[in-house]
Amino acid sequence: MSPNASSSAPPRALKVVIAGGFGVGKTSIVGSLSEVPPLRTEAKMTSASIGIDDTSKIDRKTTTTVAMDFGRITIDRSLIMYLFGTPGQDRFGFMWDDLVNGAIGAMVLVDLRRIDDCFDAVDYFENRSIPFVVAMNVFDPAVQYPEAVVRDALSISDHVPIVSIDARDRGSAKAGLLTLLNVLVSRKTGAPTGDPARV
C-alpha cells in the first residue's frame, strides 16, 4: 500500500449501532466482530425517552452517564468502523441520540423468547430513517419462528431484512453485518436487497 495514497484521505469513522433489549447478545456480537478486545468508556449521553411506561406523553430528554462497550474493525489506515452496543442496564430500550447521530446503520438484536424487548429500537430507527437489519439471536434452536411470523410480530416492512445469527460466532455475526452493509449498497444502487454473499 502506498503511504501517500492512504495518508491523503482524511480519516473517517463509520459508526454501527448494535441495539436490542437487555441480555440479548449486544456485547457478544461486538466481541465477535471486533479485531481488538471490546473497549469500554463512560460518557454523558442524552437519551430519547422511548419505551418508558409513561402516560404523560411528555418528550423527556435525560442526560445520564453510561458505560459504552465498543469494538473496532480497521478497513484501512484512514477508515475505521466502530461497533457500539447501546448501553442500558434495564429492560427498556433506551436509545442514545449522541450514539446514533451520524451512524451508518444499525443492527437490532432480537431474542425470540422476549420479542417485545426490541420494539422500541425498531421504532426508533424507523422513525429516523436509519438503515437497519433485524438479527434474531438464536439462543435455543428449539425456539424458532418463520421469518414471516417475526416480521408480522414486529410489523416491519419488507425492505428491512431479518436474519438468524449466533452472536457468539464470528462467521454468523459477520453475515449479519454484511446484510446491513448490503442494505446500504441497495440504497445507493436502487437494487433490491438480496443475498449479501452476492456483493
Partner: protein, 112 residues
C-alpha cells in the same frame, strides 16, 4: 469503574485539563498526530499524542487511556490548537458513503 478504582494514583480530571471543561466534538471524531511528540509534551498530553500515531476515534483514545471522555476532549482541543494533532469531524452517515467506499468496507468485513 476502573478510573475510580485507582484514582489515588491519578490527578483529578480538572487538574489534567487545568480547569477547562469546554469542547464538544462527537465521540467518533477521528484524531491523528500531526507530528511526533517531543520531550516538551508531558504526562497525559504525551500519552494522547503517542496513542494517535495512527488515526483513532476520540472514544477509543479515552478508553485506551482510561480517561473520562470530557477530559480527553479538552486535551485534544488544546493539542489541536498547539499543532500536535488534527481532529476530523466530517460526518459519515449512510448517505455520505460512496459506493466504492462501501464495497471496500464489505471486502474488509468479509476478510475478518
Amino acid at each position: 469503574m476502573a478510573y475510580e478504582d485507582d484514582n489515588r494514583l491519578k490527578p483529578r480530571p480538572y487538574f489534567i485539563t487545568a480547569g477547562k471543561t469546554r469542547s464538544d466534538f462527537p465521540l467518533e471524531a477521528m484524531v491523528v498526530a500531526r507530528q511526533a511528540p517531543t520531550p516538551a509534551l508531558r504526562h497525559e498530553r504525551r500519552a494522547v499524542v503517542d496513542e494517535v500515531a495512527n488515526p483513532m476515534a476520540l472514544v477509543e483514545v479515552a478508553a485506551r487511556l482510561s480517561l473520562p471522555l470530557g477530559v480527553v476532549r479538552v486535551l485534544l482541543e488544546e493539542l489541536s490548537e498547539e499543532g500536535w494533532v488534527d481532529i476530523h469531524t466530517e460526518s459519515s452517515t449512510a448517505d455520505d458513503l460512496d459506493i466504492d467506499t462501501l464495497l471496500r468496507v464489505i471486502d474488509a468485513v468479509k476478510h475478518l
